[in-house]
Amino acid sequence: MTQTIAEETVARLNGVDKIYRLGDVDVVGLKGVTLALRRQKFTVIVGPSGSGKTTLLNLLGCIDTPNLGTVEVCGQDIATLDDNQLSDFRAMKIGFIFQNFSLIPVLTAYENVEYPLLLTGVPAAERKERTLAMLNAVELGDKANHRPNQLSGGQRQRVAIARSLIKEPALVLADEPTANLDTRTGGAIIALMRRMQETQHTSFVFSSHDPQLMEWADDTVTIRDGEIIDMRRAA
């Protein structure tokens, strides 16, 4: 039984509390969250601003630690890893897509996409092949040598998607990736992410304050004031 769960689950949170200390005041980020994310599914986390979406994704992305409870990604309890091990773990397993694109401005589109492969030490020839393939997959083959500031918001986010997927991570986290885009571009980006998730067989977690995006999801988690108030699976 444990076997099947481990195989089916890419990440799980067990009784997780995350409290932010602001001077004398404690701000609740997450409270008593228990959650299992299915592998190779497109999970959407929905909740209004300040509900704890980013906090949740930070924990899943192994860039933050809970005050209480455990976080497990790919069967690994992340509390047991030190900072370097966590860095390497992220480099291997986790892709990030940020709201503000967060590309490295001094690197070209090509180099931004290639970067995760450098971190994991992929040989040059393979790197080149995979990077070009990934750029083509997000339809930016002709923009390979453009710097981020020469690209539109939608193009940048496509570079970011390519960058998050190039290392074939177990888990891709996209924290409100469309919030800085107009509705049409945002829609195209979501469609692209969904398509890539399917072709690459990746586990995708996507957060949004827009409940309409639930229609794209395999699984939906609704969150409010740091607590999960609803979880459902698409048919």
């Binding site: 860095s87 480099a91 990030f96 940020f98 690197l107 450098l118 971190l119």
Partner: protein
Amino acid sequence: MNLAYTVSIAFRNLFRNARRSSITVLSVATGGIAVLMFGGFVANIFHSLETGLVMSGGHLQVFKQGYFHFGAGDPASYGIANYDEVMQTIKSDPQLGPMVTLATPQLTLFGVAGNFKEGVSRTFLGVGFIPSDRRKMAQWDRYDMHIPIRLSGMTDEQTDVGIVGYGLARVLHLCDALQVKDCPQPPKKAEQKAAVDTDIQALASAEAQTAAQQTQAGDHPKIDLLAATSQGAPNIVSLTVLKAQNQGFKEMDEVFVGMPLGLAQKLIYGRGTKQATSVVVQLNDTDQLYQAVDRLNQLFQEKGWGLEVRTFHDLTPFYDQATGMFRSIFAFLAVLMGAIVLFTVINTMSMVVMERTVEIGTLRALGLRRNAVRLLFIVEGALLGMVGATLGVISAIILSILVNASHLTWLPPNNVERIPLRVNVTANPDLILWTWILLVVIATLSAFFPANRAARLTVVNALHQV
């Protein structure tokens, strides 16, 4: 993440705020220029002081033991009777011989100089030497300083011809006869200026003949030199004064009499054994000074001669005082420039880290380790240092060439004549190398603190720039 890639990223980052990077690079370069130009100037001062001393007094002198402290007033007791043997030993020693350009005897004495026609006299410090050896010594120019050679005009053949200091000439009322310019007594000899300024080199070749003609012409004044012989009896010799020569500083100028060694020996030793108070030794290369000293001491001990060796450092304390002072000023300037570079780079890199906080968060989220983040900023600081230091070195070299080509001159302390103002930057590869290295090290160290701050950021705080 490999270093080449890190360097490439750091390099590109320099161009993100090109204005700030330029200002930082320029301040590093300015620090380098200041240190190199002043260092080059100081090196030139050291070389010219050293060359001046070595040209006139050799690198070292060999004395009878005790002379240096007690013998100055007593040339009789502290004479070196076998100075010829000493010189021969030095020149033929397999170790010393190749180091030595010249060894020559010298006799220093005190007495009273009188111009009895005028009824004036005063005490003098006499130096007896071999004029031709002096001329050879004055050729020493190991550092290509081209210091004008001042010749006495004396020759080995004229056994009673010598020179006096300007001051002594004045006191002995010889200004008119010796055509001393700027002599306070008779204010009418300005037209001689041109003759004195004539090309020294030209004078040098013609010197021997003219000197001979002049003495034969008999238009040179004579003075009488009075001293006690080694037996304690008063003795007197007559000296034909060829010219008056400025000795640089007043104390020396007012007492100096230069004369042929033979005349000095006649005055002090009469018919007794001819001695010298020292053997002056000049080396090819000042770097061999202490090697030569050691060998000399060893030789003297072996022979049981009771001689001691004094270097130009001992004989002219002014040299060490002056170089020490310039060294202190240089060190002060270097520290000051280092501090400016330090603070400029710290400031720049702190701003860089602040501006790139979100980027740091992104890189860390992607899996870059803390150490790699630290390295990225350290490399960026090091690059600022390298570009600045290189620019500084190149600028200083160009500036020094311009300065050297502009033929400026200056009058060093204790010097008689203005010498070319030169800045030896290219001639000091060590100075260039060390300045470059230190600038880069300082810039790198300066970047270390901001880089550390960047590395310590938590990913979440960096990403959301708290």
